[in-house]
Symmetry: C2
Subunit: 208 residues, 2 copies
């Protein structure tokens, strides 16, 4: 079921963020004042080499005060194709120009409160063109053995959601086909009952 949006108004606006309150009607007719943030899409890439290594940056994030390995990723400029933005961001942040890019996946980092959408591409080669143009983003740029990625996720050394999604999807893509599911496909299913009235916890939307 869809929530009906009757109106949206900006409560804070700058060139990076448009914070809004939406008048949202739930299926049972009740209204909530839902917060949302509109922001530019992002683009980045999983770049690997012939030795099964992946190009990552090690950086500190001041907002979360945490360190982690990340794929190169940045904002798509106005009018820029996401694939071009991905190539540009890889080169700016790492100093390596990726080979041909193909779409890998799209990730909504926080679809409960933001319309952010990260387009992630895949390249299996790169050439070194010089030092990073945006070196303040990365403490280190490194070719990391792909076989260590699952351990780096497990230990919390990769914590950025889009990086985890993109790297683990790349890993899983390389595996043999999954075994077809056994047994019954569905054991239990709820469908929303439009005739029932469900209690709402006040007028508080959950942003997740």
């Amino acid at each position: 079921m869809r929530w009906q949006v009757h109106s949206e108004k900006s409560v804070y606006l700058d060139p990076w963020l448009d914070v809004r309150i939406a008048d949202v009607e739930l299926p049972d007719g009740r209204h909530i004042d839902h917060r949302l943030i509109r922001t530019a899409p992002g683009a980045g890439a999983v770049v690997t080499d012939a030795d099964d290594r992946v190009l990552l940056i090690w950086r500190h994030r001041f907002i979360t005060d945490s360190w982690g390995w990340e794929i190169p990723l940045g904002q798509v400029d106005d009018g820029e194709p996401p694939i071009a933005a991905a190539a540009r961001e890889v080169e700016e942040e790492t100093g390596w120009r990726p080979g041909p890019l193909r779409p890998l996946l799209a990730v909504q980092p926080g679809n409960g409160f933001s319309d952010g959408l990260n387009h992630v591409y895949r390249a299996d080669s790169a050439v070194h063109v010089g030092p990073p143009a945006h070196p303040w983003e990365a403490e280190r740029v490194e070719w990391v053995p792909f076989a260590t990625v699952r351990k780096l996720v497990a230990t919390g050394d990769i914590v950025c959601g889009t990086s985890i999604s993109a790297l683990l999807h790349t890993l899983v893509e390389s595996l043999p086909e999954a075994v077809p599911p056994q047994g019954p496909e569905l054991s239990f299913l709820y469908d929303y009952d439009p005739g029932r009235v469900y209690p709402l916890p006040g007028n508080l939307p959950d942003l997740l």
Copy 2:
């Protein structure tokens, strides 16, 4: 290298979002006005059963106008332990009470602009306690064969970053140990050069 934060001021504040501008000093001494959003942490769970199925909800997100399978996930209440929030959210959104939970991973959904942190747990059983208390969140609640998860990610039917991260991590955890990396561990590494001046693209922080 760390960015030095000299000050933060709220530019928009409500019970869900604290939008701020931070005066951030880059390693070369230049300042940028960086935007950031402080918000509550989230908690959720990957719940599986003995038939290798996973408990997912199928929902529409009005902010992105898109449908997708997601793990149950919601905001942690003030003072609530994240593991208790995860159990509560699973039950509210699905009508199933999860068995014992263990930590799976923590995900920062958008660490370039938000301090959001999602704590994800894992349970390998659940008991049915009734219809969902928050049925307006899900169009359908379903036990989905785990073997189809990789395909659902590949087709874009799972697009929520935290759900992709948590589900693929669960899948990868079940695989045999990775082959230890071959060849040289590192082929190339930049370290930030504090003596060099790198051009900044105006006073524009990139929020990714």
